[in-house]
Symmetry: C2
Subunit: 307 residues, 2 copies
């Protein structure tokens, strides 16, 4: 079996790995995300330093966004309009391809995490499911009809609008684009700005979590109703607060109010809204899964044809 | 080319047709929806009366819902939990199969309308798009990755939640399950209850349309962001108010606020949010398209294997 390279390129940290799957990671390294030049030099150094393991056949990248994941676009492989300093219009996959000389698959961090959970985690055997991350921001990806969702571009699930009762919660929202969209109301920085303390410092009984669960449940029904997923996996730093899961499940049932007469929602919701089986490794392992798909011709890649 | 039967089974009327496509409908009839026994007898009478045209190879049904569209379910082909008197747990596709003796494809009215628009209308060549109807209720269907959306069950797009400013609009909403969900705020009966006059009687300059456009735009961004469709087709009685289209387009752009840097939203929105090319015939023509798919083994059907 060939070796694969996986890169989880996040807005705050990069994770690089070499291996073939969750039980066979031969090298792994993480470092803070700097500007693109320095960060890509570190990516290159990681693969250089581990050349003794043998060559990697292909690389997969799980990228922060927005990105261009369309293989027919001249900007396929680019991080596009991110406000992150220095990164707008960066040819991330193309640069990695030029540095490492192998085909490079490329998708959003959340689509790739969804792929990882589909291959080895909580979404095995499903054809329609979502992966949502609630952390510094809120993002979502997933599969419909057995393939990752792309369509016009890629999903940006964090920016949907939900009811916001200004009387109960006068917080104006954190999102620079939309104010009180889902991300604006309940990403980690929104929790911190609203309550004056970092989310991780708030005790489990703090009222912040009731409000967080209510907003996330509203967001979830807005994803369940249009997409009809067979399961939703919720990861990210905020979801480390495991007390949120039962609170969210109860609220989703209450909000749907018996309208969807399906076992998943009515009696099986504990298995319907779940944490990632791969924990915080869904992204980097998904990148390995993407590299495997590229090597089998199942996913598009920068440099796939010319080499 | 074989003949196909198409049935658009709506909550208020049924449309039956025999033909092969939009330019070749050899017989068509519509009648009010009564109880299931009487209605199905009329369906049977329609096909009986037109037996002289030759046999239909297969039939497609575009059904009101909720339904069970899962071919592995014992209730595949059923209308399930509808509040419509007499229709709950009706074996619609199975009965048509027993009456007509041919395989019967079965899906939601909106998924089938989407199929019709994909085959002959405004969604030709796309692999990810939505079809939304705004009328007596609000429903949505569509394709992702080239196939109709099913997943856990089928989409119920009308019941998503959107921000509702009670100060501007104190109307509590029409939906029996969710009050002020999207359908509850802007289906036809909600317009009539809020303003005291039927939607079709309100002049184009009535403030009802500003509010309607705002709510529909909020609903649309909540579909565009998670699903990333390449186009959204908006049909149904309320959308006969063509002045809504430019109003909705402007608001969708304003709500997205430049976040999605794609031509479809930025400059091409007139071709992005569009009326159905098949007008009000998307449903019945889609049913013909579904029957064609069944005859080619591309869609599941009641009675497909045993015959």
């Amino acid at each position: 079996m060939p070796l694969y390279g996986g890169i989880e390129g996040g807005g705050t940290k990069f994770v690089c790995a070499i291996g073939t799957g969750p039980d066979d990671i031969r090298a792994e390294s993480r470092f803070d995300t700097a500007g693109p030049e320095r960060t890509l030099a570190q990516v290159n150094a990681f693969f250089d330093a581990h050349a003794y393991l043998g060559p990697v056949a292909t690389v997969g990248i799980a990228s922060f966004g927005p990105i261009d994941p369309n293989p027919r676009s001249p900007r396929f492989g680019y991080v596009t309009t991110t406000p992150k300093p220095g990164w707008a219009q960066t040819d991330l996959a193309g640069t990695v391809h030029r540095l490492l000389g192998v085909p490079v698959g490329f998708d959003t961090d959340v689509n790739v995490a969804a792929l990882g959970e589909h291959r080895w985690g909580a979404a095995q055997g499903l054809d329609t499911f979502l992966y949502l991350t609630v952390g510094t921001g809120i993002g979502g990806g997933g599969m419909v009809n057995g393939k990752l969702i792309h369509g016009m571009m890629h999903p940006e699930m964090g920016h949907i609008r939900i009811p916001h009762d200004w009387g109960i919660d006068p917080y104006r929202g954190y999102c620079a684009y939309h104010g009180d969209c889902l991300e604006g109301l309940c990403c980690g920085p929104a929790i911190e700005e609203r309550w004056g303390r970092a989310a991780r410092e708030l005790e489990a009984s703090h009222p912040a979590w009731e409000l967080e669960a209510e907003y996330l449940a509203l967001g979830l029904v807005n994803l369940i109703l249009p997409i009809s997923p067979q399961r939703i996996i919720m990861g990210g730093g905020v979801m480390h607060q495991r007390q949120l899961f039962p609170m969210i499940r109860t609220r989703v049932q209450r909000l749907l109010n018996g309208y969807l007469q399906v076992d998943q929602v009515q009696t099986g919701i504990d298995e319907y809204l779940v944490p990632p089986a791969l924990d915080d490794r869904a992204g980097v392992l998904g990148a390995i899964a993407l590299a495997e798909d590229v090597s089998k011709g199942l996913a598009p890649a920068v440099g796939a044809i010319s080499r």
